[in-house]
Symmetry: C2
C-alpha cells in the first residue's frame, strides 16, 4: 500500500571518502526504486562528515509532507552511534514536530534477516554445494 | 549438503569496545547454528583491535582441516578496508597454502539481499501497512 506521508531515512555514518557517501546515495536510490510505494519518500542522512545531517534529513522529510518518518541506522554494531548519538539527534526533532511520528528502527546488524543474508552471500561465492 | 572441509570466516573491523567485538562473536555463533552443515566451521576474525587477526583466523581454519575458506567482509561500504586491506592480508595466506581455496565474498553492503533486508527492517518498525 502506498503512503505518500511515510518517509524512510537511511542514516549512515558518513565518510571522508566521497565515494563511500556516494555509495550510500546510490543505495538510497535503489531503496526508493524498490520501496514500491510503501514509503512516499526514501532519502539518506549522515551522522558526520557528509550532508545532510540527521536533523536536516528529518526536517527535509517533514517539509516534503511526511507525517511518519522511519530512521534506519545503516550500522553493523550497537556502538555509541546507534545507542546514543542517533537517538540524541532524533529526540529534538521529535519535540519540534510532536504531530509527526518519528521512529528509529533496528540497525542493520541486528536485523532479523542478517543471518540469511550472510549465508546467502557466502553461498554466492560459489562454495555451498547443493 | 554438509562439508566439513569448508570454512566460513566472518571478518569484522574490530572495535575498542569489547561489547562490539562480543556482538560479532555472538553473530558468528548464530551463523554457525544456521549454516546447517554447509560450512564445517564458522568463525570470525578482525582487521584490527581484536583477536584473532585475519591471517590467524585463516590459519586456524586451515589447521582445523579446511580446504576451502570463504572470507566474508562484515562491512557496509567499499572503502579501503574492503578494497585493499582485507585482500592484502588474505593474499599471503593463499600463497602459503596453495592447495587451499581461499575466496573473499561480497561485503555485506553489496550483498544481493541488502535492499530487501533494509525494507523489511523498516517494515518491522511498524510503519508499512498492508
Amino acid at each position: 500500500m502506498s503512503d505518500k506521508n511515510k518517509s524512510l531515512l537511511l542514516v549512515a555514518h558518513g565518510s571522508r571518502r566521497a565515494s563511500s557517501n556516494e555509495e550510500i546515495r546510490q543505495l538510497t536510490d535503489r531503496l526508493a526504486d524498490s520501496a514500491d510505494g510503501a514509503f512516499g519518500r526514501v532519502s539518506c542522512a549522515f551522522l558526520e562528515l557528509a550532508e545532510p545531517s540527521i536533523p536536516d534529513g528529518i526536517e527535509l522529510a517533514i517539509q516534503a509532507g511526511a507525517t511518519e518518518v522511519v530512521v534506519l541506522p545503516y550500522f553493523l554494531s550497537a556502538g555509541r552511534h546507534v545507542a546514543e548519538d542517533i537517538p540524541e539527534l532524533v529526540a529534538p526533532k521529535q519535540s519540534e514536530h510532536p504531530t509527526v511520528e518519528i521512529r528509529i528502527s533496528t540497525y542493520v546488524g541486528a536485523a532479523e534477516g542478517i543471518i540469511e543474508l550472510l549465508l546467502s552471500t557466502a553461498a554466492e561465492s560459489g562454495v555451498i554445494e547443493s
